[in-house]
Symmetry: C4
Amino acid sequence: MNKYASLQEQAFEANRELPRKGLVSETFGNVSAFDKDLGVFAIKPSGVPYPELTPKTMVVLDLENRIVLGKLRPSSDTPTHRMLYRYFEGISGICHTHSSFATAWAQAEKPIPVLGTTHADLVHGDIPCTSVITDEQIEKQYEIETGQLIVNTFSHLSPLEVPMVLVARHGPFTWGASAKQAVYHSVMLEELARIAFHTLQINPKIEKLKASLIEKHFQRKHGPDAYYGQEKSGNQR
Amino acid sequence: MNKYASLQEQAFEANRELPRKGLVSETFGNVSAFDKDLGVFAIKPSGVPYPELTPKTMVVLDLENRIVLGKLRPSSDTPTHRMLYRYFEGISGICHTHSSFATAWAQAEKPIPVLGTTHADLVHGDIPCTSVITDEQIEKQYEIETGQLIVNTFSHLSPLEVPMVLVARHGPFTWGASAKQAVYHSVMLEELARIAFHTLQINPKIEKLKASLIEKHFQRKHGPDAYYGQEKSGNQR
Amino acid sequence: MNKYASLQEQAFEANRELPRKGLVSETFGNVSAFDKDLGVFAIKPSGVPYPELTPKTMVVLDLENRIVLGKLRPSSDTPTHRMLYRYFEGISGICHTHSSFATAWAQAEKPIPVLGTTHADLVHGDIPCTSVITDEQIEKQYEIETGQLIVNTFSHLSPLEVPMVLVARHGPFTWGASAKQAVYHSVMLEELARIAFHTLQINPKIEKLKASLIEKHFQRKHGPDAYYGQEKSGNQR
Amino acid sequence: MNKYASLQEQAFEANRELPRKGLVSETFGNVSAFDKDLGVFAIKPSGVPYPELTPKTMVVLDLENRIVLGKLRPSSDTPTHRMLYRYFEGISGICHTHSSFATAWAQAEKPIPVLGTTHADLVHGDIPCTSVITDEQIEKQYEIETGQLIVNTFSHLSPLEVPMVLVARHGPFTWGASAKQAVYHSVMLEELARIAFHTLQINPKIEKLKASLIEKHFQRKHGPDAYYGQEKSGNQR
């Protein structure tokens, strides 16, 4: 038993969820799990079909881009994950997919506006879309610069209150308190993207949800007086 | 065997149908079952994933908001259910989902117009959309006020002839003679919302179904001379 | 073994295909199988959920509307089926669904234009939409008049070359050389309706397929020199 | 064991993938596998339902249109496959479907523009749409002329960099280094067609992906310095 086995297991389980949830085709997409104390994260190997994954195929890297465990090449998006773990305090899982409706919004270079309470239950405001990567950035280290684009987009946003982003022309990244939660956020993002699409087709003039409803729903689930779900400290389960 | 066991069982079975029918993701949505004689209803606990539900996890409450059985916190939408059981004579089940097309109509603040006989077979006229909750109502007891919005919307409508509503910016509630029928109405609402969406994309100028066809189809299934289905008093089954 | 057992079996098998193919929800839809020599058809009973069907529940009727076998009430659409068996020479199966895209076209009161070879492989020209039933017709025998609407629509069309129709504001009926083929035509109609919908969204100005391509594809599969599929008289299978 | 058994097996396996991936209904679609050394390809028989296929039912033909093995009539699209094997150097598998979104673009006579990196990862530029077949071509050998249309469309394109095409008013053909890869390209094409459809609905004014991003993503996966996936020569798997 290596000391990274649990992290590999978490990353493996979360990656296996992607095809089950219909979020990825073939080898697209990747999830990582981060352990802040160990200073490392486990991530899907590059280009390996989902049915062939095992916990041991998960590649473990530190935040300096050194492989500490694993024989395979890590996901080509690894530097983007690394950037987010460095800059976004408090996240321990990241998920990247090319899910259909979220990618359509990203390709359209449009943030997903907050139009209803389903959205506000999960995300505090619009789901932002980055600017398009510049030619200068493409010529540098592309995947690091993709991470930089995301970090810049959050200069005035809290990654804990808005646990997802659309990378313009590319697709979505989501994160959370665990790899499992990051995948959950990708599932929800795809559904929010789909509902917002149809909402605007039905009523192109609809405006954003008013601030009082955004606050009510977000705080009902995430605020200090949240009353959704079961008490965390309870002995109910 | 407690005297609420059957009600809990009904609520449990109906809640388990939601993910099977593709109406909910993760922990979203909830169904309750009401027993008029006992004056109580059983409802899904808050924030518990569907695979973890059992009949015993269903929380039983009376119409004064007192928990009479159950250790878990009930769904945060419980006060909305309670309001409907108090004001809508003759209903014994309520279902709330965030199903994709119905939620899009709700977010667009648009009632679903009756455009065909599939709709008229089930609902007597348009599927109404409430007004948006006011800031004053949000500051009061939000979920009770949501119920109040629905009740107000039905001031000139029969909840038995129109067994469903869109809560503006939020999503659908449906009801029926049982928890099972409430879920059936949610399934049908999602399909009606989807067909209406595509109908209006194909022909934006199409008008509502004419009154004679609405009456014919609604009465064929629900009127005193209904001839759809098998005789209820028959010995055929 | 009654002499209608084989017909009941065919009708049963074809009805069971409807939910498997995703064409119906709950109790909607119905299929019948006709035996020209016996002068009777077997049809789904009214309002019975699909999982509860057995061959013996299929109701057998003659073309004068007399039940010759079966204890249950037949589908409320039975008179429409009967009309088509009387007027459309050479058909031995009929299928009625409320499938999503086909119903949207019917609600929009629009025929489905022939836009590509997938359509021309199966249907010789547009898929027609009836006129809307008149108030006078509604007051007469509604389901017979629905059949009459379809028959009128085919006054200049061949039911063998165009084995399907949209009943305006209602939904599709399809038919064929057997109940099984009628269901196959419903499956294909839903897909043709879906592709035509998206085609016109991508290019609202696209015109119909030119006559030479319609003829080529229809004749390739259905003409006297058809070369699609295996020789019917061959011993290959 | 005949010397074509392996080729038949590859064609069989690839054809069986089509319904599993949701790309075909009923008997539509076909895949072939080509062996350059033997100078022959194995293809689906015409009009046989997918569940009835076995490796031995695959028909083996040479590039002069002679059947070298098999008792069944080959797919009616066989001459189109043959044309592509003759003119497109380096391909060993072809797949033809009527998948829903790709066919909608083909019926709309529109190429699918490259709008994001998901597309650029796989295809070097737009997915072209052929011109519509002329009446003169229809009167000649239709399926050969369909192949000719495709070949003409690639007069200035590389079939290895753009492994797919839309045949106007008909549907998509894809190809690759194997029958399996050709099917993979059909799966991806359908998803690219779907995402592009929604992208343009969200933002009708969005322009194509800029050249620098097209190059970056295509080269990252397919260029001489590709760093996606595992080293081909490695002993990792």
